[in-house]
């Protein structure tokens, strides 16, 4: 084994900086949060409390409200981001190289922009008195909506923002996957009389399955971790209408200073995401071969 590593040492050296950062900023905090979830954390001296934090989580109404809100968000945002990426990539793919580059860059640009900036812009769009959304409605004689400040509309507004933000990364990944599908498959289908839609449905879509699976998993993780949009647009309100799991974890940890309890909620989130990813992987996985 060591021989093999030594042989490929240059490769390992290239990925080493990334793994050092990963260990410091991801792996160690995850391990630490597992430990802390069994403790009542104090700045000076902590106390081991066993499963008490987990018991509290299961009896915390606010946590379950946050779970419900997060599910509502994820159920809409996850499929919509994957489907919109697929549709947009399918529309861009047949274009000429110049046009493809233009649209690829245009849709990827919002991904580069900070989610803070995007959320601030959307907060203005949804502003009750002067916002663009209500101005648009007024053109049709509709009554203004209190977008971010009514229980009925607050979560819908956050979801609308997420759905209307272009899924730049998904588009790029789908385009790359589409480019790798052998042209001969489409040529054969054309000879057999298949039109463009049938080709897309019978060839493109099945062969994009691995990319779709990856995007679904990544999008599910992202949806379950929604935080900054909520924090900036509604702060979890009104009431607890937009409080999500991560928002709740943040408040409990950094405002209430209950790190053990926050750790237990994080473990719940971790297990939920892993379980969902495994289910998605099981349901959607399957060998894909590009047979010429």
């Amino acid at each position: 084994m060591f021989k093999r590593i030594w042989k490929a040492r240059s490769g390992y050296l290239f990925i080493l900086p990334k793994y050092i950062l990963f260990t410091i900023f991801v792996l160690i905090p995850i391990i630490w949060s597992v430990f802390v979830s069994f403790q009542e954390y104090r700045v000076f001296g902590t106390e081991w409390v066993g499963l008490l934090n987990f018991q509290d989580v299961f009896h915390d109404d606010l946590f379950w409200t946050a779970v419900g809100n997060t599910l509502r968000y994820a159920v809409i945002v996850m499929p919509s981001s994957v489907i919109s990426a697929l549709i947009l990539a399918s529309l861009i793919n047949p274009l000429k190289r110049g046009a493809q580059t233009f649209f690829r860059a245009s849709f990827y640009l919002p991904t580069v922009a900070s989610s803070v900036v995007i959320s601030m812009v959307w907060r203005w769009i949804f502003q009750t008195r002067f916002g663009l959304a209500n101005y648009f409605l007024s053109l049709f004689g509709a009554e203004p909506i209190n977008w971010l400040h009514s229980s009925a509309w607050a979560m819908r507004s956050v979801i609308i923002m997420a759905v209307l933000t272009p899924p730049g990364m998904g588009i790029i990944l789908y385009l790359a996957a589409m480019a790798s599908i052998p042209e001969s498959l489409y040529e054969a289908a054309t000879i057999d009389g298949a039109n463009r839609f049938v080709q897309w449905w019978k060839i493109t879509l099945p062969l994009l399955k691995p990319t779709t699976l990856y995007l679904m998993i990544v999008s599910t993780i992202g949806s379950f971790q929604v935080f900054d949009q909520v924090m900036l647009m509604t702060q979890g309100g009104p009431g607890y209408a937009t409080t999500t799991i991560v928002h709740r974890i943040y408040n409990v940890a950094f405002r209430d200073f209950q790190f053990g309890y926050a750790g237990a909620m994080s473990m719940f989130l971790f297990v939920a995401i892993i379980t969902l990813a495994l289910i998605q992987s099981k349901v959607l996985s399957g060998d894909v071969e590009y047979k010429g």
């Binding site: 000076f44 008195r129 400040h149 009431g239």
Partner: protein, 430 residues
């Protein structure tokens, strides 16, 4: 005799050693501060920078590192720093928010009693000291005191032909009548575009709360939730009715953010609300230069309800010294905190920053001689009540404010909202 002499010699040696250690301590003190008033270069940290330069000149080898932090981020950044045990040495917060009773119990903050002489303590207003006292220990040096007041845009009053309250005093009924008269269609398009009153409901903010006290209700009584009392319900209902029954407040009352609410009162080009409650810092903003300068402004009391007297919520600001493992450094950090809190500095804060001094000697310098609005606000200190002291206040506050948001959005009745808050809070009070 020889034994006594030896003991004396040892004592002298100890004193000399510790004194020289104190004098010789060198190193870096980390200070977090947030924006204050601007100078001619638009620098909002000029005051603390000048104080740092003075202190460093007096203490060669001591360097003060200033971390400039926006007020809005100070609490969260401090909580994260505490969690990571990487806190600053000195920070301008009270002990009811980012620093709270839990931190005090855990020893994150230094108690300063040993550093304050009787004479020094005598110079502070009792309310200011009380705000930094927990279990009979002083956990900060008070720098300023604040109250909430009502700010009135008198141009709006004039446009509506409404007389402002005489000497800023009014009953609830008078307040409602004026707020209604101040609500009108100013451009003749058939839509109301000017409103009498507005405020917001957010966790950690208490501009609206004095209204809830006006009939005699209080949030916590003997560790029991008090906003379910008839007095509190009636007071909250009155403010809700101002929006939904009297139509004297815009739809966003109770739900807008801090900046949006303030712009509705003061921002040039917006200014569609005549009356809003604010902390006293806002007086300096609306009477100063810039886009938020209100040419004709008045400071008024909260309206008087069934309690028979106006109520306001007061607070205190000051410097907190975080836990120091090195005693010599702690001495210098505390000295610096005291250096920032002298009567002269508190006078400067009062004249420039819109706060009330926490020290009697600073108050005696008459900082508001040429600031009638601040002088008027200072009269309201006698009506101020503090927020409840409870280790879980941040969580209790979150539950109450969440229900208030729904009440002011018209989604819950006052009774249902407060009953729901009571059910959630009961567990925290146990």
């Amino acid at each position: 005799m020889g034994k006594k002499l030896s003991v004396m010699l040892v004592l002298v040696l100890v004193l000399v050693t510790s004194a020289s250690a104190f004098a010789n301590w060198t190193g870096t003190i980390t200070l977090w501060d947030a924006p204050r008033w601007r100078d001619e270069n638009d620098d909002q940290f000029h005051w603390v920078k000048a104080k740092i330069a003075e202190f460093e000149a007096l203490h060669p080898g001591v360097k003060i590192e200033l971390i400039e932090t926006p007020w809005a981020e100070l609490g969260e950044k401090l909580s994260i720093a505490i969690a990571g045990r990487a806190w600053p040495d000195i920070v301008p917060v009270d002990i009811s928010g980012a620093i709270n009773r839990t931190h005090l119990e855990q020893g994150v903050v230094e108690a300063l009693d040993a550093y304050m002489t009787e004479e020094e303590l005598e110079d502070f207003f009792p309310g200011a000291l009380q705000a930094y006292t927990y279990k009979d220990k002083l956990y900060g040096i008070p720098m300023s005191m604040t109250v909430h007041v009502m700010l009135l845009n008198l141009d709006h009053f004039e446009e509506a032909g409404v007389e402002p309250p005489v000497d800023g005093r009014w009953t609830w009924d008078e307040f409602v009548e004026k707020a209604k008269a101040l609500t009108f269609d100013s451009d003749g398009d058939g839509k109301i575009d000017k409103y009498g009153f507005s405020t917001y409901i957010l966790q950690g903010y208490y501009e609206a709360w004095p209204f809830f006290y006006m009939d005699g209700g209080v949030p916590l009584v003997d560790n029991t939730f008090g906003f379910t009392s008839p007095e509190a319900i009636s007071a909250i209902q009155k403010l809700v009715d101002l929006k939904f029954v009297h139509g004297a407040a815009p739809v966003e009352m109770g739900s807008a953010d801090v900046g949006g609410t303030f712009r509705a009162l003061a921002r040039e080009g917006e200014r569609y609300v005549a009356i809003q409650p604010w902390n006293t810092w806002a007086i300096a903003t609306v009477t100063g230069e810039g886009v938020n300068h209100l040419p004709n402004v008045m400071v008024a009391e909260y309206p008087v309800g069934d309690l028979g007297k106006p109520v306001t919520i007061g607070g205190a600001g000051g410097w907190v010294v975080m836990h120091q493992s090195n005693k010599d450094k702690r001495d210098v950090v505390v000295e610096f905190a005291k250096f920032l809190s002298t009567p002269e500095e508190q006078y400067t804060f009062a004249t420039e920053y819109g706060t009330f001094p926490a020290r009697k000697s600073a108050e005696a310098m008459n900082p508001f001689a040429d600031k009638p609005h601040m002088a008027r606000a200072a009269q309201m200190v006698e009506h101020s009540v503090p927020l409840p002291e409870h280790p879980a206040w941040a969580q209790i506050d979150e539950r109450i404010q969440a229900e208030l948001q729904l009440i002011f959005a018209g989604e819950k009745s006052v009774e249902d909202g407060m009953e729901s808050a009571a059910a959630q809070i009961q567990r925290l009070l146990r």
